[in-house]
């Protein structure tokens, strides 16, 4: 396998992606809602409320959290503690959906899209190996997800620190556990999801089928990532590191298995399922 040719496949896929407004507009909207819109709205309501009823309800929610979480929630007032809880334990885990969705959307089209456009014929007659094609497309699908993770959580951090920071004694996000999650746990989860989606994309006959299958494949991974991230926030950082190792192992296994699943004939439209 030649690295330069694999990078060429990734580069050309990314270039096509950057020029696809029909991809960027909905994905940008999704990221805007989860990283900016929803946090801004909810945190504004919680931090500026004068309703004693709402403050009481926030207090009740805080009381219902597991003990370790309650100990970690910072803030002098119920509103401050409620805002902290929202920022760290509710909104941020939900936002993990965004990079996974962005990468899944690219991955679902990656191989079956070549068949539909007819460009699979060109790739099939090219000297690229199946592995170079698969890994190039994998990389092109990973980059938007990783970029969304970095940029999205960067903006999210800025937003929650500006909104909630003054109430809890300064900038607080990412917490140590969230640093581990963003850098160490989320990326392999994206890779695992993509391995499955690209495997599906190389087998189905149409983009529509790939999207449906990708949804089925990626949803459990999204829930797993969400569950793991939420759970890890309760447990020590060491647990997050351990989960990350497992996720990376699965990701590498997925890459190897997935790269073996692509056959040249599939690029021509033969041998697909469904």
């Amino acid at each position: 396998m030649r690295l330069d040719r694999m990078l060429t496949v990734a580069r050309i896929d990314l270039r096509r992606l950057f020029r696809s407004k029909d991809y960027w507009i909905p994905m940008g909207f999704l990221a805007g809602v989860f990283f900016v819109g929803l946090p801004f709205l909810l945190l504004t309501i919680v931090t500026s409320t004068t309703s004693s009823e709402l403050v009481n309800k926030i207090g009740e929610v805080l009381q219902s959290l597991p003990g370790p979480v309650q100990e970690n929630v910072v803030g002098e007032t119920p509103a401050a503690r409620g805002a902290y809880m929202l920022a760290v334990y509710l909104l941020a885990p939900v936002a993990i959906v965004v990079p996974l969705t962005i990468s899944s959307a690219v991955g679902a089209h990656a191989i079956v899209g070549e068949r539909e456009r007819g460009t699979g014929e060109f790739l099939a007659h090219s000297p690229l190996t199946e592995r170079e094609i698969f890994l190039g497309k994998m990389l092109a699908s990973l980059v938007p997800g990783f970029a969304a993770t970095a940029v999205g959580f960067g903006i999210y951090s800025l937003l929650v620190n500006l909104k909630v920071g003054p109430l809890v004694g300064g900038w607080f996000f990412p917490t140590p556990a969230w640093w581990v999650l963003i850098i160490w746990v989320v990326p392999p989860f994206i890779a695992v999801a993509l391995s499955l989606i690209l495997w599906v994309s190389s087998r189905v006959r149409s983009t529509a089928a790939a999207q449906q299958a990708a949804t089925l494949v990626s949803l459990p991974v999204i829930f797993a990532a969400y569950g793991v991230s939420s759970g890890l926030l309760i447990n020590p950082v060491v647990a997050a590191l351990t989960i990350g190792v497992v996720a990376w192992t699965l990701a590498v296994a997925g890459l190897i298995t997935g790269s073996r699943s692509l056959h040249r004939e599939r690029l021509l439209g033969f041998g697909g399922d469904g």
Partner: protein, 305 residues
């Protein structure tokens, strides 16, 4: 002459359908081979098997001395395919499409602009391919195929839907490459375009090479009554030929088109006309076109069947 491509008893099935069925075919290096045949004859599958994009179920294939099933990457690096639909990335510019190809085939970027100029597409390199016309797309696909100077060029219905200028660009390319010793396989059912370019004509049917030979040899084999065009100042004299013993048929079409029992009877026929007072202005062999030949071969196959 060494062989560039050799198929030996190759079969490829898709389910119950034998797209290529015990195909044996030899393409000499540096030659132009034209694959003729109706849709479903196995031409495209033959092209795909040649580069190793598809693998055969049985039989053996050798391309440039290599087995594409084993050394497919090298075979593909030394060959190029122009498919019926150009298979370009619409959301990229012409330049991006060509640099992508140059990078994966290991060709120099310096080859891009000359290749684009060669096919008259250099003015549109900065535009997205999605806005190209059919002809422009084919020209770009041709430029793309030439970037790495392939030893074997496989053209699968490259002129389908093209304007005359673009179709001519394809034929000019074929002649130019042949002049440089490259091996060319042209699949087509547009027979007039393949006229006169083929060193070898292969008639495919049901996944097999049913008839193989040069156009001249096949004409001798399948067109039994040679045609000649004859004209004279006083055309009434030519009516003698309508019932001449050496003339099988005679038909007026601007001049008199006659089919003779054998070409060596022509001098006697002309001598008789002159003796009858005709002042002959034209005697011209009317060689069978590839189209004529194609239908004669098809007729022969049907009779054999």
């Amino acid at each position: 002459m060494p062989l560039a491509i050799k198929f030996s008893n190759v079969t490829r099935r898709f389910g119950a359908v034998r797209a290529v069925d015990s195909l044996s075919l030899e393409v000499p290096a540096g030659s132009i081979t034209v694959l003729l045949g109706p849709n479903g004859a196995g031409k495209t599958t033959t092209v795909r098997l040649t580069t190793g994009a598809l693998n055969s179920d049985s039989g053996s294939i050798e391309v440039l001395g290599l087995d594409p099933a084993i050394h497919g990457d090298e075979v593909r690096a030394r060959s190029a395919v122009v498919p019926p639909k150009p298979a370009l990335y619409d959301r990229l510019s012409g330049w991006d499409n060509l640099t992508f190809t140059a990078d994966i085939f290991g060709a120099s970027h310096a080859a891009i602009r000359p290749a684009a100029e060669r096919f008259g597409i250099d003015h549109a390199l900065d535009l997205d391919v999605g806005g190209y016309s059919t002809g422009m797309r084919t020209r770009l696909a041709l430029a793309r195929a030439m970037l790495h100077d392939p030893e074997v060029l496989l053209l699968d219905e490259p002129t389908a839907g093209l304007d005359p200028e673009s179709a001519r660009a394809v034929l000019d390319l074929i002649r130019e490459l042949a002049g440089r010793g490259r091996t060319i396989v042209l699949c087509t059912h547009l027979l007039h375009e393949a006229e006169g370019v083929a060193d070898q004509v292969v008639l495919m049917a049901s996944g097999q090479a049913r008839i193989v030979g040069s156009q001249e040899d096949l004409a001798d084999q399948f067109v039994t009554n040679p045609a000649v065009v004859i004209d004279a100042e006083d055309r009434s004299v030519l009516r003698l030929l309508e019932k001449h013993r050496d003339v099988v048929s005679a038909e007026w079409n601007g001049a008199l088109h006659v089919r003779l029992t054998h070409l060596d009877r022509l001098p006697d026929v002309v001598a008789e006309l002159v003796a009858s007072g005709a002042r002959i202005t034209r005697v011209q062999p009317d060689n069978p076109t590839l189209e004529t030949l194609y239908f004669e071969m098809q007729r022969s196959l049907r009779e054999t069947a």
